[in-house]
Each structure stands twice: as C-alpha cells, then as structure tokens.
Symmetry: C2
C-alpha cells in the first residue's frame, strides 16, 4: 500500500461553464442582462476563467444566441480569460472575430454519441480542428484552441468507450493543431479509479497541454473524481454554479459539479482558487431566484462553510472569509 | 508528482448505520416491524454488517427503544455481523446480554462536543471503555469493542480539533482495551487531504485494529473522503440508506454518505462489497415511502446505474446486475 500523500497542486482554476453547459441544458432562457450580471458577479467573486457561451446557430440553442455580446462584455472585465464553445469552423470564425481567449471544440470519443450529437465521426472532428487551426493562424489570431474529448468514460448510447481510443483521439487533436486538450465525463459514468488511470495517461501524453477535467455529478461522484484528477496533477476543472445543467438521459440528475462545492473542497484542501466563496454563495442565491422551477444542485449552500474554514483556506482567501464569518 | 495508482482494497464492507445514526436524527419514529423489514431486506441485498440500534435510555431516544428486539432479530439472519452503539457500561451490559457481535463506544475528540453530547471528557470515555472491557472479559463474552473517535476533523462548537489529540485518544482507546478503533467526521468538516493524512497515521498506529471510516456528507465531500481513505487501505465505511440522518447544525443537510451511492462507487471501482445495488435501490424506495416528509439524499436513485456498470462490477455482482438490466 502506498500511504505517501501525492503532491497536490498548490493552486487550481475553476472554469465556470454555467453560462454555457448549464444554461444550454435547461428550459429557462436567461436574458442577456441577467447573464451580464452573472458574469460580472462571478468575476467580482474571483473567477478568472469563464465559458461565456457557444457559437452555434441560434435556432439550435436559443438560450445562447447572445454569445457574441457576452464575449464582448467579458473582454471588458480585467484579467478575465473568456472561452466559448465552437462546434465547427464557422463557430471558430465567430470566436476569432470576437477575440475569445480560447475556443473549445467538442469531440465525442463515443462514435455513436458523436454521430448523434455532432453528426460527424470523431476523426471528422479532428479534421475540422485542423481547418480551425489553419484559419486561426491565417487570421493572425491569438485565440487558443482546446480539443475537448467527451464521453471519455462511456456513453449512454454506445456503452463502453475504450480508453485507448480516447487517448488516440486526444493525440490526434494535438497533432491537428489543438493547443490544449481536455477530457470530459459527459454522462457521469466515471469513478475515481477510472479517472486516475486515464488522466495519468493523458497528462503523460499531453504534458502542459493537458488543460481541464470536466465532470458531471450525475451519480454523485463528481468531487471524488476531481480529487482523483488532482492527485495526478490536473489543476483546472469545469464547474457550474448550483450544479445546473442536468443530464438529458437522467431527468432531475445533476449537471456539472457545483462551482461552490468545488471551490469549498479546494479551499479546504489549501489549494488556492482565488474565489471568494461567500460572494459565490450570494451569487448562487440570485441565480437560483432567476431559475425558479429548475432543479438546482450542490450542498454547501445549505450547510454553509465550516467554522474552521477560514483557518484552513489559502491566505489569499482567509482574510475575506474571516471578515464575513466573524 | 506521484502518478502511480495506489493499490486499492479488493473488497470493502459498507456498514449500514441507517437504523441507528439515520433514524436517531429524524423526527419520524419507524415501527419495529418496519425496521425488521429493512433489516431483512438489507441482509437479502447482501449487507453483512448492520448497526441495529443504540442502547441508550428510551426517554432520550424513543426512536431506538426497540434495539434489543432488533438485535435478537439480526442474530437470526445468517452471516450477519450485528453491532450496536453503547454510550456507557450500562449500555454495554445490554449489548453483551443481547449477544451483539460488536459494540461501538463513541468518544468525541472535541472536548466541547464531548461535554455537550456525552457529558464526559474524552478521557472519562476512555476510562469507561476500560470498565467495559473488564465487564466483557468477566462475562466471557465475544462481543467486540470498537472505540469510535468522533469530531475527528473539527467541531461546530469548538472549531479546530488537533489531529494529534485525535490520535492520542485513539491510542488511549486501544490501551484501555478497545479491540477496534474508527474515526468519524461527525459534522462534515473533512476534506480528502485531511482524511488521507489523518487516516494514514491512524492506520500506521492501529494496524488491523483500525476498523472503519464514518463520513457525513454535510458539504458534499463524503464520497471524495471515502476515496481518500481507500487510498490508504481503509476498507470499511459506515453509510445510511438514502443518506438519512441529517445534521442538527445544518437543517436540510445530508447525514452519512448514502449507502446506495457508496455501493455504486465501490462497485464501479471493482471493489467488491457483496451488495446487489438493484435490491438496495428497491429497498430505498420502500424506506422513502415510510419516511415521507423527511429530507432524503443520494443521487444514484435518480440516474440509475450506468449501462457500463455490469461489465465493471466485481464478478460476484455482475451476474445479478446484468440479470436486472438486460
């Protein structure tokens, strides 16, 4: 038995994806003004990486039709690294035109899921990334390209997804010109042992270009999976405020891990996120008001921070926490 | 960075504590007949360690007044290892008389919590364990004594609890004659880094006499904490069906980790628990009906098992799972 504690990262980034992955999966359409308020408040709470939307046709996702406006807003917030999802070259051209810091191209390692959701095979997505890279370079743009490999731990349509195929596609994305790659448990099938094994191999292959872990909490293992990924050195995670988003295949189930719960876990572990949790919980309360009728998730909001949290949190946060919890 | 996967246990025990820790913390009083039904169904689903109640005066916990009857019932179920909680020598005498396989003596490492809840200092509890050991040996009884160190990660009254004090008290329990020791995060303050560090030290001290981890999911980290404990070789965890129990200090918050979610995580990680999850989910549904109006927890019940689960689960379970999910 290995009882040595793995060296955990000293800091980690929580990338807020509530404005994209969260909002795209629920019925409520939030107004652009509300989204702006969310964006500004998340920034004020210390979030520095936010996925503001998706450049897909508005007829497919009316919830995200204002992505260009939000991207412009985000660029006005100091120090904010703004990303958008782009399904294809056309979306990438919008991201480049809008000056996004990063664009995420989703690829599904499950061939069945890829055909059903993206209407392309995974290798056709890789070819699209090569075209996006060429367009980006031709435009002299600095927008980074992230290839996001989804259904990396299995798929509701296909069932098993071979880890070797996941890693092959990740390598193919890098070869095609992706600057960053990430892995997503799109349907909540991963467990900590699977995550540790696959993420360790992914980090070995991609090194610093391995960018982000994206975990859905569909079966309650989201934070345990983050813990497993932290142990192999991954230090950036997607999350949605209030765990919004759900899963089309499991009505009522959670979406991504909840931003506030993840920020609490990392803060308690003395991994600096720069996030002021009290401000985040206040924002959660506002967003919950806007999303009345939607199923929200997360647990910290009920129980509040432990009495001992201020003493444990990284020094950059302890001051603000102890100011709020005297 | 250490990317080697720690060697995880090949099998683990989930000790059901819903009939004690769960029921003692909620308003509904379940009839003895319902409890018997729960006990039998849990046994039929493969649970082999169950805490059936607590030998405390019925005026303090009317919910558990039928502990002696349930213990007698449990002894009739083949292969079931039945435990009870005993706060003192008088309770221990009842456990010995009833032929419990194990009796858990709770000790709170937080002096403030200990005085408030047990009306004894932690060292007075250690002295009581010595008296219990003497009584057990004098009676020629085989009932094992477990010293359970609670508030091991902090306390809502006192705040910080020094890990050195937790380990000192654990050693003192062993010296006083406890056959087993365990650690509990009574109020949901632990994080995976804290768990890994403290449990590794505890296992080093107590060896095979380190028995069980008890995690409350108050802030959503319950399963991540189990994962951290698994990594240092701990292979027995308390859990409550449907996460019942709550936390008196956080209305609406979860109690212990949910048995069904933990069974799913372990099964997916190929750690054998002997539990048939489909049967467990069916039992959860019955218990949820009996506890109408109580806040229940857990996530698996909404989403169901992944399509890929049968192929991943330990061989003892795969057959029954695939029989139910064709």
């Amino acid at each position: 038995m290995n009882t040595d504690s793995p060296r955990l990262p000293r800091a980690a980034v929580i990338r807020e994806v509530g404005l994209r992955d969260g909002l795209q999966s629920i019925a409520t359409i939030l107004s652009t003004e509300r989204k702006r308020e969310w964006l500004r408040a998340a920034h004020a709470a210390g979030q520095r990486e936010i996925e503001v939307g998706s450049f897909v046709p508005a007829r497919l996702l009316p919830q995200l039709a204002d992505t260009a406006e939000l991207l412009a807003d985000a660029k006005g917030l100091p120090g904010l690294f703004a990303s958008v999802l782009v399904p294809n070259l056309r979306g990438a051209e919008s991201a480049i035109a809008g000056g996004a810091d990063l664009m995420i191209v989703p690829l599904s390692a499950s061939h069945a899921h890829s055909l059903a959701n993206l209407r392309k095979t995974p290798d056709e997505v890789v070819a699209e990334v090569a075209r996006i890279r060429a367009a980006r370079d031709a435009a002299g743009s600095k927008t980074l390209i992230e290839g996001g490999v989804g259904t990396a731990f299995g798929c509701t349509l296909q069932g098993e997804v071979d880890p070797a195929e996941v890693l092959r596609l990740m390598q193919a994305l890098l070869d095609a010109g992706a600057d960053r790659v990430s892995l997503a448990d799109t349907v909540g099938y991963a467990d900590p042992a699977m995550v540790r094994s696959l993420f360790a191999q992914a980090v070995k292959i991609a090194g610093d270009r391995f960018w982000c872990g994206h975990f859905h909490d569909t079966r309650g293992l989201g934070l345990a999976n983050v813990h497993a990924a932290l142990e192999v050195g991954v230090a950036r995670f997607d999350a949605c405020l209030a765990g919004i988003g759900g899963c089309p295949h499991a009505p009522g189930a959670s979406g991504n891990v909840a931003t506030e719960d993840l920020a609490y876990m990392l803060g308690s572990m003395r991994i600096d996120t720069g996030i002021d949790i009290a401000q985040l919980l206040a924002l959660r309360q506002r967003v919950a008001g806007w999303l009345a009728g939607e199923t929200l998730h997360g647990t910290l909001w009920r129980a509040g921070l432990p009495r001992t949290f201020a003493a444990r949190a990284p020094s950059s946060l302890a001051a603000s926490v102890s100011r709020r919890n005297p």
